[in-house]
Amino acid sequence: MKQLILDADKCTSCLQCELACSLEHEGLFAPAYSRIKVFEFEHGKRNIPYTCTQCDEAWCLHACPTNAIAINLELGTKYVIEDLCVGCKVCTLACPYGTINYNAKSGKVTKCNLCSGDPKCADACPTGAIVYADPQELTV
């Protein structure tokens, strides 16, 4: 199954991924709402892109009291059903990685859904630090 493969060694922290993500999901350029984040360490020595790993054992899903997080079996994603989400934030506490977050604008949580199979962050990345591929098919 395809997944996002993140390579910190290639990341320059240009944030094209965050721009693409926010445009796709929020309709505007606002990295603050991006589902993928780049973290910078030591004056930019290390730049690390980071987003939901789509855990097999998804604690966000199990924690949700309204069944607002569902599994897309084809893509392996765990996605938020906005109509069911009541913004209680329990999932944000359950997630050990901090990759599901409360969006104050909508009053609901947001997380990466791999753009339903066409992740815009990977498309926007100029250096190959974010690649959408099946790791078992990668020769490297």
Partner: protein, 611 residues
């Protein structure tokens, strides 16, 4: 439309902030960024006012493309009257601060007056407040940024600040954002210091609207691809701007020892190859390359200093990684002062960022001091006992630190080359135009560069024109006025977009036009864009004329006009400015004393700004 339509005005004298609607008519004439800020500046201040007085106005301006997904969309400009030049200053910076300002809901930030006590400006999503900065005053840029992120418990806050150099009026103090990017030139940091404004801290989640996402994305993808496929871009990514140092040395246009020489054998010790080659301790200077916001080029270098090097051996606070050598820093700490110790150069770069100073002006000022020292005019008594010979790497780092902290002879170096050389009776040794120091190109070898330097509205600058191709093709002044004038207008336009000049490695004016039309509307034709650039150039000129500058300021030091090039491809040549300048004035539609004619003013709708 990618504007918020909001200008934040911080009245430092009154200790208040307010929001005003963006003057859309001006945005339509000047595009944004550099041009729009120039229009605001001419409206809000008397050009004759002292640059370090409360009457000066300090503007941080984004462009219409700032914060969008266009490549290099992180740029902002600081526009004010510069204390180094007493002319208009326009300093452009990358990093992440500019985009964050836009994301906080503001297109421009305008600071007026002077705070009674030190303050910093905190901006969060449409809210702004002035906060006391007494505990930050006297501290470094690096401390200030860390302190503000800690205080406000938000590592995502972006900070633009000044160091002690800016507080104490070093003529070439800069505004540093994101630790190692800077609005570097003309002393904009000293203006900030004169206003008692220590820092601007911004957090923005409002974002930038995108009216037509499909079209914007289509153009964005296409222009990203142009950059991806460009050889020039590839070179910037792989080697950074410092790839130039080998070329300029071979060409014989690399200013060395305060422009006494034009080649520097030591350049092989500070070039991109040296940056990535391990030294005898196994230490490699370069760590990685790094992008500014939105940039798919990533020309920035992240480096570190050898922990065993004498400059930092017992100073662990400089053992971390930070911004590394670029061409202009390599030139300003290298050839122009005769130093080729890569760790010393890198350390000097750290000190510039930490204390907030322009490397070019510092390096060239030190070079002038070194020449004065070698002539016996300055002695160890003046220089705190430090021998200021060309090539003394220790003198470079000691003086960088003394200037940053404004101690001892550093106070004199903080004057800049012009005032320093005047003070010691040798004004001709100052390698400046309008008081601002030259970048790393000798205009005896690059004639069009000489014309660009002489006519640049902010004093000597290599980034306001692009005549490189013509200067490579022939070493005379013939035919340089046209490309100089045209590229000045084009770059004034680019600086007004919020995008980076280095994209011209792949983008022509049409490539900019497609992006701006998609974001701002189809009335932005190629012609309208270039006309807005020309209008900006002329308005800057008019500001300077009102400030008291004249055609006599459009000149170069005698070393470039009278002393034949000692070596290189242009050996025996001087800069033919006297030939190029009249042609340039005429092309611009200016009188032979450099004043825009009535006809030119009317054509550019600048009548109200007539001298």
């Amino acid at each position: 439309m990618t504007w918020h339509g909001k200008v934040l005005i911080a009245d430092l004298s009154a200790n208040t902030v307010r929001t005003e609607p963006l003057n859309q008519a001006w945005a339509d004439e000047y595009l944004g960024g550099r041009g729009l800020a120039t229009r605001y500046l001419t409206e809000m201040m008397n050009p004759k006012a002292d640059a370090l007085s409360p009457e000066n106005v300090l503007i941080f301006a984004t462009g219409p493309m700032t914060g969008t997904m266009a490549s290099t969309s992180g740029r902002y400009c600081v526009v004010t009257k510069g204390p180094l030049t007493n002319a208009i200053a326009c300093s452009n910076s990358g990093g992440k601060f500019g985009a964050e300002l836009k994301y906080a809901g503001y297109d421009l930030l305008i600071c007026t007056g002077k705070a009674v006590k030190p303050v910093y400006l905190l901006i969060e999503d449409g809210n702004a407040q002035l906060m006391p900065a007494d505990d930050l005053w006297g501290t470094t840029v690096w401390h200030t940024e860390e302190f503000l992120k800690e205080k406000h418990k938000d590592p995502q806050i972006k900070v633009a600040s000044i160091g002690v150099a800016g507080e104490q009026g070093v003529k070439y103090a800069c505004v540093v954002n994101d630790l190692h990017r800077a609005a570097g030139r003309s002393g904009v940091g000293a203006v900030m210091g004169s206003k008692h404004l220590k820092a601007v801290a911004v957090r923005g989640t409002v974002g930038v609207p995108c009216a037509n996402p499909e079209r914007v994305m289509a153009v964005t993808k296409e222009t990203h691809q142009l950059l991806k496929d460009s050889d020039g871009r590839r070179e910037l990514t792989e080697f950074g701007t410092n790839a130039m140092i080998d070329s300029m040395h071979a060409f014989g246009g690399l200013p060395t020892n305060n422009f006494l020489k034009m080649t520097f054998e030591g350049s092989k010790n500070i070039n991109p190859e040296a940056m990535k080659t391990p030294n005898e301790n196994g230490h490699t200077n370069l760590i990685t390359n790094k992008a500014c916001f939105g940039c798919t080029i990533a020309c920035g270098r992240i480096a570190h200093i050898d922990k065993q090097h004498w400059s930092v051996r017992n100073r662990e606070n400089y053992h971390h990684a930070s911004g590394g050598l670029e061409y202009e820093t390599a030139y300003a700490f290298g050839p122009v002062v005769g130093v080729d110790d890569i760790d010393a150069l890198t350390f000097a770069g750290y000190l510039m960022n930490e204390h907030g100073m322009d490397p070019i002006s510092f390096g060239v000022t030190l070079a002038a001091a070194m020449e004065l020292y070698e002539l016996g005019i300055l002695t160890n008594e003046h220089t705190d006992g430090v021998p200021l010979n060309f090539g003394n790497a220790e003198a470079l780092t000691i003086m960088a630190e003394k200037t940053g902290k404004q101690e001892g002879f550093g106070k004199e170096l903080g004057l800049g080359s012009k005032l320093l050389c005047e003070k010691y009776g040798r004004p001709e040794l100052a390698m400046v135009v309008k008081g601002q120091e030259f970048a790393g190109y000798d205009s005896r070898a690059l004639q069009g560069m000489g014309l660009g330097y002489a006519t640049s509205n902010r004093g000597a600058c290599h980034l306001k024109h692009d005549v490189f191709a013509e200067d490579m093709a022939d070493q005379s002044g013939d035919g340089k006025a046209v490309p100089c004038k045209n590229s000045q207008d084009q770059i004034a336009m680019i600086d007004s977009t919020g995008l980076c000049l280095f994209t011209t490695s792949a983008w022509d004016t049409d490539a900019f036009q497609r992006q701006i039309a998609a974001a701002c509307g189809d009335d932005w034709t190629r012609e309208k864009l270039l006309e807005s650039g020309e209008r900006t150039w002329n308005l800057e000129r008019l500001f300077n004329l009102h400030a008291g500058l004249t055609a006599a300021d459009d000149t170069l030091p005698p070393r470039l006009l009278e002393t034949p090039a000692p070596e290189g491809v242009a050996k025996g040549k001087v800069c033919e400015l006297d030939k190029m300048l009249p042609e340039y004035y005429s092309l611009r539609g200016w009188t032979d004393t450099g004043i825009p004619t009535q006809e030119t003013l009317s054509r550019l709708s600048l009548n109200e700004h007539a001298v």
